[in-house]
Amino acid sequence: MHIRELFARRDFLTRMSAGLGGMAAASLLASESRHGVEPRAPHFEPKAKRVIFLFQNGGPSQVDLFDPKPELMKRHGQRPGEGYINTVDIKKTGAWLGSPFQFAPRGKSGMVLSEALPGLARHADDIALVRSMVTTHSNHEQAIWNFNTGSIQPGRPSLGSWVTYGLGSENRSLPAFVAIMNPKGLPVDGVRNFSNGWMAPVFNGFPVRAEGTPVIDLKPGGSETAAAARLALIQKLNREHLRTRPEQLELEARIQSFELAARMQVAASDAMDLSKEPAEAHDLYRTSDPDAGVHGRQLLLARRLIERGVRFVQVLHNGQPWDTHNENESGHRKISRQTDEPTAALLTDLKRRGLWKDTLVIWSGEFGRTPMTEGKDGRDHHKFSFSLWMAGAGIKGGVTHGATDDFGYHSVDNIVSVPDFHATVMHLLGLDVNKLVYPHGVREEKLTDVSPSKLVHGILA
């Protein structure tokens, strides 16, 4: 008889994971548990405990925001040479398009940043800028899947799911993984941006909004005391039901889920209530600014959630604002105006509140944009180079890591792949990306799938 058949699945998992160290065993078993968000120890001493992931849908332009290219300016208007093509559509390969944005050294570190980001410029010494990112696909969806889930195939769990699977939740009254939506609508690719894929549903990102109704069905429509009495009746019925079916964990879990929901009504209502913030905080985040207000409220909410022990907060734009196929310059000015000062405010706020030491902030899109024009004044999707930055726990501030060629077309120096980025994020959280496995079908899945990965040591404090 095959050895595997001798054991029930749970025992099998224990045995399988014995070779992977105790942590992995705990994680594997937790995945079997239906309510597996209890806190779990990381593989090793972590630098960061929580993550705020500012996802920049659409693909921000590296050469206009982070990566100055004098040679590109010089060749502005010239046809690019052999090999510099538009990978979305070769026929759309346009002339070199020098950036209309001025760049200057910022902070003590002298990190060179664009005039589009004056707020971030004030934090140049706090962030680590990676100029040498590459990804594997030039379409939004595949590149988003790659960046969020580690593969260009859809249907895999997102980064936030992996982190909450690895570490569980520190807060019993709020979801472990929260996605803060733009009230104007879903990002491109919708709920897949924070999906649990084939992981247990408990690892799904919980969508909330920074305006109007923050959480669907959070509050009863009518009288709150009547709702409380209703809940009491539900639980009375449930306990009576359980009494004749003792030791049914699933029934017990559902009873607990009603208790959690009740706690959430209070805790989430409190966490989501931005009116509890002083005027000074609202000013800092510019929550009433006509341009920056929406993002300011999203980021203020992100900070409130992180403060309450939410493990992973993903902040999303509606649609894909960075996707400037036309009017690249005005598009980038506009979205920068909407996001830059709130982002700076978040960094300022995390520092002064002592959250800096265990919160990791990630800012990135799914890819970059072509250094050539698309059409008259746009830039197309670009997979060979893009920039991202990270800040906070475990990150060395003021570092500029990696470089692109003279045009910002190819990453050439200290190239960082998406799996490298994932491995580094997990490392900061005390997790080994190769050890955190989730059993799925006949495979044991990893965030980085079958891709090799290496840590980006240059940005680690």
Binding site: I3, H35, I216, L218, E250, R254, F258, V442
Partner: protein, 774 residues
């Protein structure tokens, strides 16, 4: 090392043969083996080659061991010490093998699920009195071996609730419960089963299970647009009808894989109903995510379309064959005897219809007209000039917009509303053109269409193995085929050469015929396992999509094989299979593990209890709306609601209520639902619009048909939970009714009573007992 630990003996089939195949087969395998030494069987190892016997059982100094230990073999690639130890252990312990003449391929074929099921003897059991159907004999025999026995029969109410939900996905009514309670005839339960199997609700319920396996969705599933498939629902309706009329499962499979080929639909002037049905069935092969668009570059087209093709094969392999074929796309399967060549041979079966490299139409145009050819011709004659006119009108309109934008201060940024406001002449012209466009549009003839699959002609483009799964890296050419391990060497799979004048390749028809041959090792087993899981929450093989060597063994192989062979013997009747299962004592015993209803059944049960279930069947799906809160809900569900199977399944915008109860997003397909107990379910039931609205209807229903509070409360309890409340529960309900009024000081009279009973109803709908069946 397992073997070295002494706890387990090294096994030839499990440990040694794979090692030798991996390390030595490149040179020492088959008839052309170097030095005449063939490592493929124990016998050939003992025989050895030019240098004499390679192994001598019991002798750790065998030639093979000396060679590998010295690093002479394999040349330049010394085996790891652990592997040498494994070989040494096996030889020292006597070099045993179950079959000295079996090769790894022979052994792979011997995996239980790759062998045709043989009808087992029905075992004799001591507790013969409990045997209602042969299912019981098998189950009790297994239990008695371990000293166990069946639990007693469940009470009538619990049993009725269980079987009604299982077969129809809805709760029994209190009237049905009373009738069953009062029916003392010995065949009372059998008649209930027959009533349920005859109900049209049965097909809706069973179709939901099947649509999970088929990966059904109403949208294409990629790009921001996630375009809605206008006519996918005809496949959904086909599936419901098939279950309701108990279409033999082999026919069901053949139609889904090749209904177009078997029916030769092109030969009809107007397809008769049975041909329409066969064509609708092929929607099964059109469920996968599909991104083809008219404006795609040929290279994009290929890239996206190959994915659709791969997913389609995964759906076929996982739902019908229970094999993890997709793991062999980039390399030979790591745990199964499935090669990359097998993968691409099977993929070639579909090459006549799915042509990533063209010619192929965008997804939404790959349709078959459900209308007489003469009508189609007429439609074309009518539409062609109309389409020219419409194009001209639209161009003209666009030109007007451009013309007036040039005059507007905002130039290209001016919206049409702003143009209308600024230029009355524009407003007038645009309105006139819109009217014209609408009039011409209504004159077009739109014929009903079916989202189907069909070959273009009798040929198919050549198929290849793709190196590392990359469609641009062609390896060996392959012919259409089936996985070698499943092919019967006595009657190997082949596709009859099509007549050059034929309209189809016949490949899928040949595959479907092979798959539904009565002795096929997998088809019947996989389906009976699926039906079994629908009744017990878990299959006899827990991994519904993996019957391979890497999957768990069946918990009761004899029972599985008896069911599978019986299924085929009874003409592949799914209803007969349900009867066998639900009439068994095993099914009828008291529960020890409550099962939660699936998302769709939860919602349907809420509608049924509240008296708002709209029984309308079939047709276009009910659309959704996104509320200002962000909740995605069916349009117009505040009043009556249709069953969840008729709600649109949009991959990018899952319905919030169903999603919170773990309805899957169909990335490919869903072999097994998961059950979570998340706070969002609790919030949806406690505070959601749907729950509150339905509770209101529920309250109306019980207040209308009952006089006093006590009768109304008892009725509500029974409508929700089927059973009668205990005296203590009645007290709880009545004290709730009494105290709840205090929370609504502003209300009085009828309104207050309705509000209180709404609250009571909402609590009942939220209770565990409502969504768990015993």
């Amino acid at each position: 090392m397992i073997a070295a630990s002494g706890l387990f003996a090294a096994e030839f089939e499990r440990d040694i043969l794979p090692l030798l195949e991996r390390r030595c087969a490149q040179c020492h395998s088959g008839t052309a083996a170097q030095a005449g030494f063939d490592i493929r069987t124990r016998a050939s190892l003992v025989k050895g080659g030019k240098s004499g016997a390679a192994i001598s059982p019991g002798d750790p100094d065998s030639l093979l061991l000396r060679r590998v230990a010295a690093g002479q073999m394999p040349p330049g690639a010394k085996l790891p010490a652990a592997e040498i130890e494994l070989l040494r252990d096996w030889i020292r312990q006597g070099a045993a093998a179950a079959d000295p003449n079996a090769t790894a391929a022979d052994l792979a074929r011997r995996h239980w699920a790759f062998q045709p099921p043989v009808q087992p003897e029905i075992p004799k059991v001591r507790a013969a009195a409990r045997v209602r159907t042969p299912v019981d004999a098998f189950v009790i025999a297994a239990l008695e071996k371990k000293g166990g026995a069946l639990r007693p029969d469940a009470g009538r109410g619990a049993l009725l609730r269980r079987v009604t939900f299982d077969l129809t996905g809805l709760p029994p009514t209190p009237e049905e419960a009373d009738a069953f309670e009062a029916d003392t005839a010995p065949d009372a339960y059998d008649r209930v089963v027959e009533r349920l199997l005859a109900s049209e609700r049965y097909g809706e319920r069973q179709a939901r299970h099947w649509l999970d396996a088929a990966g059904y969705a109403d949208s294409e599933g990629v790009l921001a647009a996630d375009v809605v498939r206008a006519n996918a629902w005809r496949y959904r309706d086909y599936v419901i009808r098939a279950f309701n009329k108990d279409k033999p499962f082999d026919v069901f499979v053949r139609e889904q894989l090749a209904g177009d080929e078997f029916s030769d639909f092109r030969k009809y002037e107007k397809m008769p109903p049975e041909v329409v049905e066969a064509v609708e069935a092929t929607g099964f092969l059109r469920t996968a995510v599909d991104a083809t668009r008219e404006d795609f570059q040929p290279k994009d087209f290929a890239e996206y379309q190959w994915r659709t093709y791969f997913d389609t094969q995964q759906i076929v392999a996982s739902s019908l064959m229970g094999i993890t074929m997709h793991c062999a796309r980039c390399h030979d399967h790591k745990y199964e005897p499935l090669t990359q060549r097998d993968y691409y041979s099977m993929l070639a079966v579909f090459a006549g219809a799915l042509r990533p490299e063209g010619p192929v139409l965008p997804s939404y145009k790959r349709l078959i007209h459900d209308a007489a050819k003469s009508e189609q011709a007429r439609a074309e004659t009518v539409n062609k000039p109309l389409d020219d006119i419409l194009k001209a009108l639209r161009d003209l309109r666009a030109a007007r917009v451009k013309q007036y934008r040039a005059l507007h201060e905002k130039r290209d940024k001016a919206t049409e509303a702003e143009l209308r406001a600024a230029f009355p002449a524009f407003a007038e012209a645009a309105a006139a053109l819109d009217k014209e466009i609408e009039r011409e549009t209504t004159r077009r003839v739109d014929l009903p269409t079916i989202r189907a699959i069909y070959d273009l002609d009798s040929t198919a483009p050549p198929s290849y193995v793709f190196l590392r799964g990359d469609p641009t890296q062609h390896g060996d050419p392959v012919a259409p085929g089936v996985p070698a391990v499943l092919d019967d060497p006595a009657r190997p799979f082949s596709v009859p050469k099509p007549d050059p004048s034929a309209s189809t390749t016949g490949r899928r028809a040949a595959f479907a015929t092979w798959l539904t041959s009565p002795g096929h090792p997998l088809t019947a087993r996989v389906m009976v396992n699926r039906v079994w899981a629908g009744h017990f929450g878990e299959g006899l093989v827990p991994t519904m999509d993996n019957f391979g060597k890497s999957g768990p063994s069946p918990s009761n192989r004899e029972l599985l094989d008896w069911l599978a062979t019986g299924f085929v013997r009874q003409g592949w009747s799914v209803k007969a299979l349900h009867r066998t299962i639900v009439k068994s004592s095993f099914y009828r015993q008291t529960s020890n593990m409550p099962r939660r209803l699936e998302a769709e059944a939860v919602r349907d049960a809420v509608l049924a209890a509240s008296g708002t279930l709209d029984a309308k069947m079939y047709g276009e799906p009910v659309g959704t709306r996104t509320k200002t809160t962000g909740e995605v809900a069916p349009a117009g569900e505040d009043c009556k609601g249709r069953r969840s199977i008729y709600q649109i399944v949009r991959r990018s915008a899952p319905q919030s209520f169903l999603a919170s109860f773990d309805a899957p997003v169909m990335e490919i397909n869903c072999s097994r639902r998961v059950t979570s107990a998340s706070a969002s379910q609790a919030l949806a039931m406690m505070n959601g619009d749907f729950a509150a609205a339905q509770a209101g209807h529920f309250a109306n229903r019980v207040l209308k048909r009952n006089g006093d509070d006590r009768a109304a409360a008892v009725d509500a309890f029974r409508l929700a939970l089927t059973r009668k409340p205990s005296p203590r529960e009645i007290d709880d309900l009545l004290s709730f009714v009494k105290s709840q009024a205090a929370h609504y000081p502003e209300m009085t009279g009828v309104a207050l009573r309705w509000q209180v009973f709404s609250d009571l109803a909402q609590a009942l709908l939220s209770a565990n007992e409502f969504i768990y069946i015993d």
